[in-house]
């Protein structure tokens, strides 16, 4: 039995606010989730997308040119993974936590129509593939987004490793 009081592992990475570096953080996320957690492989790919979408938002809206973004992974063994993305609040299109909550609520509405090229990342990928999303205004300026994915808390969507199929789906 794992010690559930074990101190979570925390890894922080500072990235230049440039999409050029996103493939690197995606690779890191994939490897981290696959190799150091008990999440099934598909969740490694899903959390890779979650990180990518959050970082892209931080770059596009939160941080100005030549500013950094901070990505932090917190892994509590057998419990959850938190991913926290922080921008500097120097971007031209910066948004507050309240504005982000409102935007997410609008786009999570089942009647919301996505008509443009953009806008699906937060509502359709991040929100669908995580158990918690929290927006916080940072004291010194900027936005902090924290998502949590539980490994196996039965109250939440499961990230349990896949088991052998126990039933067939027949197409007739």
């Amino acid at each position: 039995m794992e010690n559930q009081n074990e101190k979570p592992t925390r890894i922080s990475i500072t990235l230049p606010g440039n999409a050029y570096f996103m493939s690197g953080i995606r690779d890191f996320t994939l490897t981290l989730i696959k190799n150091t957690t008990n999440f099934a492989e598909k969740w490694a790919f899903r959390l890779q997308s979650v990180v990518d979408e959050l970082c892209n938002n931080a770059i596009e809206y939160g941080s100005g040119e030549n500013e950094d973004i901070l990505v932090t992974f917190v892994h509590s063994k057998e419990q959850y993974v938190d991913i926290i993305v922080e921008d500097t609040g120097t971007g031209k299109n910066k948004m507050t936590a309240a504005e982000m909550n409102k935007l997410l609520e609008e786009r999570r509405n089942e009647n919301y129509k996505f008509t443009g090229i953009r806008g699906r990342g937060l509502a359709k990928i991040v929100a669908e593939w995580t158990d918690e999303i929290e927006f916080t205004d940072k004291e010194g300026g900027g936005l902090k987004v924290r998502i949590r994915k539980y490994l196996k808390d039965p109250r939440y969507k499961s990230g349990l490793p896949e088991s052998t199929p126990t039933h067939l789906v027949l197409n007739v």
């Binding site: 598909k42 790919f45 979408e53 892209n56 090229i117 699906r120 359709k124 088991s163 199929p165 789906v169």
Partner: protein, 157 residues
């Protein structure tokens, strides 16, 4: 920076009033390259007036972000309003997964093999939903009771 390659080739269509192309995308489509790569597809669509169908072979595509899915949705709209079809073949499990979660599999048929997709576009026998990969309702997040994704389903013939 992510690398991505897009190759297009004409497919032989019996109907003289329509055209079909195979679009093979490999690599990773992300924020660093998707806007430029999308232009290549828009050029193909704009350069082919009339009814055009596109089959996207995604066997070599390792990653796509939400914006690339937005572009795919836009291409679907442009193609279908001219009477054409957009199909996806050979997508990897993580690509199918992300297309499903955004709801695109409700619009675009997905096929395990290129031959199945070609059969639909080239107007021969099996233009039936049974040829398509069954998809799940995208609005339903995975739960503990959901069948494993690999394989997602078992088809009995």
């Amino acid at each position: 920076m992510a690398e991505a390659t897009i190759l297009t080739e004409d497919l032989p269509v019996k109907d003289p009033n329509s055209k079909a192309k195979l679009v093979t995308i490999s690599g990773q489509l992300d924020e660093s390259n998707v806007d430029n790569k999308a232009k290549e597809i828009y050029q193909v669509i704009d350069a082919t007036p009339g009814k055009l169908s596109l089959i996207f072979d995604l066997a070599g595509l390792d990653y796509m972000n939400s914006k690339s899915i937005g572009y795919l949705t836009d291409w679907y709209g442009k193609i279908t309003e001219r009477g054409g079809k957009v199909l996806i073949a050979h997508a990897k499990p993580n690509i199918k997964d992300i297309l499903q979660v955004v709801g695109l599999t409700q619009l675009i048929q997905m096929f395990e093999s290129l031959d199945e997709a070609k059969t639909v576009v080239l107007g021969t026998s099996a233009e039936t939903p049974a040829a398509a990969v069954p998809t799940q309702t995208p609005t339903q997040a995975p739960t503990m009771t959901q069948p494993p994704s690999q394989p997602e389903t078992f088809k009995l013939n």
